[in-house]
Amino acid sequence: MVQRRRLLDFLPHLILMLGVAIVAFPVYVAFIASTWDAATISNGSMPLRPGPHFAENYYRTIFIGTSSSTREPVGTMMLNSLIMALTIAIGKIAISLISAFAVVYFRFPFRMTAFWIIFVTLMLPVEVRIFPTYKIVADLNLLDTFAGLTIPLIASATATLLFRQFFMTVPDELVEASKIDGAGPMKFFFDTLLPLSITSVAAMFVIQFIYGWNQYLWPLLITTKDNMQTIVIAIKKMIVTQDALTEWQLAMATAILAMLPPVFVVVVMQRLFVKGLVETEK
């Protein structure tokens, strides 16, 4: 009995460990590659232990950049990506909270029409409407600006729907108690609704930050100047075609650096998730 138990305990763990290894190994290799010099990597015999060039490679990546195609240091690009991802995430959450609040708590003409229009935009991600959106941004002279980079990505049906669903679970009595307690609509929003939504907001922030950070197509189109580039595009640009020599150690360092902020956000927010799950309160 005990034997079988152990086996049953062991098997799922083994599968999980294999899964982790499969996911983590390429990341490990990328990290190792970022600590060797270009020659060692390109001759195909890179060892699987950290090399001696860690500080040098990362210093060059962050503050100087590659010697060829992208001339900006990765530090600038990380900052660009960070501004873009934060603006998108915070903007999406703010606008979705307010629109969900309007749709759930106010009776105005064409309320359901407004809701369905928001709903329908689920079918229109940036890739579908890319040409008209580009045209608008270009006509507004927003190319190569953070506004052009972020505003078209901010409107979000997903977050609006999520918050709407959450708001509908908040008991009506809380609204009524607030009314009797003399709190107007916005006071109710900030004093009661927002504190109650904090875990949904955290969840949305994680999802939307990563969404914003990983944007590729839109920044590729909107940004032409080197100092406006985002890190995801930079990785692609660093890996140059056959004849030129790709500086793999820098490309790998950039990839590792590009991974850090989303990982950081997930790790930090995960604690809030758990807290939110334990203290479910409505």
Binding site: P171, E173, L174, E176, A177, K179, I180, D181, G182, A183, K187, D191, T192, P195, L196, E279, E281, K282
Partner: protein, 347 residues
């Protein structure tokens, strides 16, 4: 003064459903008024109209000397206790009670004084810093009451506040609510579907049915002289025996003074006694079931062997056998006659 006056108040929902059909009611200053009735009778809607949470479709509602039809809930000087308490889950007990005062710009030390006083009265002082989820149902109930009393409103509104508590706690809280209301002498309107709660709490008991007031008055008056069949059947437990009397009379039932026309005869189980003699009403029944609840027992019998069911309450536990034939009599002052067509009291 803070009397509440309703004048032919109506509520028509979009779609044409008329939930409240012209209710006129006067609740004197400091009076405890209980609205009772089956679910869907409009009692909660009426309360919510007084609170300002529902618009009033017709008629007027005034609190004190002011007609409040168009006044916001916050400006009506009322406080409400909800069935699910509606405490703000993210605020401490203290903040829950202080929130309404803060929104009104009450000075800080005044808020503190009032909250601590309410907490002392309701015995929730040890929990002031806790969140509502860390409290038991009874404690949450107290906090909800505390939130109402710190405001010192003109009117308290209670919407089935005890329904979520267990039976023992419900009785305890019922007594406390009554004591508190006596001490504060604040006009109160209390909605419940529990007739025992209604009987024990009310100064003025209002029985509602289908959006209308069936009868309003002192609880004992409603018990002794129900003006309609509905009130007769609703007030009292076990319910009053109601017998539809055909013109030819019912087999097994004899009245000292016969009645004419289609009437319904009502007699309470506690007003029937077992006796071989003749009274104003004498009924012969065959016992079908007996229930002993301790100090008293209930006998269920079929009138005249196979007629409608009659309940007789007898003191003690001296129970007859199932199938036994019995005679129960009642005195004339305990007989209620209602018109079968209109449901209105005749005697």
């Amino acid at each position: 003064m803070s009397e509440v006056r309703l004048q032919s108040v109506r509520k028509v929902y979009p779609g044409g459903v008329e939930a409240v059909k012209g209710v006129s009611l006067e609740i004197a200053d400091g009076q405890f008024c209980v609205l009772v009735g089956p679910s869907g009778c409009g009692k909660s809607t009426l309360l919510r109209m007084v609170a300002g949470l529902e618009t009033i479709s017709g008629g007027t509602c005034s609190i004190g000397d002011r007609i409040v039809n168009e006044v916001e809930p916050a400006d009506r000087d009322i406080a409400m206790v909800f069935q699910n308490y509606a405490l703000y889950p993210h605020m401490s007990v203290y903040d829950n009670m202080a929130y309404g005062l803060r929104n009104r710009g009450t000075p800080k030390d005044e808020i503190d004084r009032r909250v601590r006083e309410a907490a002392r009265i309701l015995e929730v002082e040890p929990f002031l810093e806790r969140k509502p989820r860390a409290l038991s149902g009874g404690q949450r109930q107290r906090v909800a009451m505390g939130r109402a009393i710190v405001r010192k409103p003109k009117v308290f509104l209670f919407d089935e506040p005890l329904s979520n508590l267990d039976a023992k706690l419900r009785i305890q809280m019922r007594v406390e609510i009554k004591k508190l209301q006596r001490a504060l002498a604040t006009t109160s309107i209390y909605v419940t579907h529990d007739q025992l709660e209604a009987m024990t709490l009310a100064d003025q008991l209002v029985v509602m049915n289908k959006g209308q007031v069936e009868q309003a008055g002192a609880p004992i008056t409603l018990y002794e002289r129900p003006m309609t069949i509905f009130v007769a059947g609703f007030i009292g437990a076990p319910p009053m025996n109601l017998l539809d009397m055909p013109a030819t009379g019912l087999p097994g039932l004899s009245l000292a003074t016969p009645v004419s026309g289609p009437v319904t005869l009502g007699v309470r189980p506690e007003h029937l006694e077992l006796s071989a003699e003749n009274g104003a009403l004498a009924i012969d029944l065959t016992v079908t079931a007996v229930e002993a609840v301790g100090a008293e027992s209930y006998i269920y019998g079929a009138l005249g062997g196979q007629g409608p069911e009659i309940i007789v309450r007898i003191p003690g536990r001296d129970l007859p056998a199932i199938g036994a034939s019995l005679r129960a009599i009642a005195r004339s002052e305990n007989l209620h006659f209602f018109s079968r067509e209109t449901g209105i009291r005749l005697n």
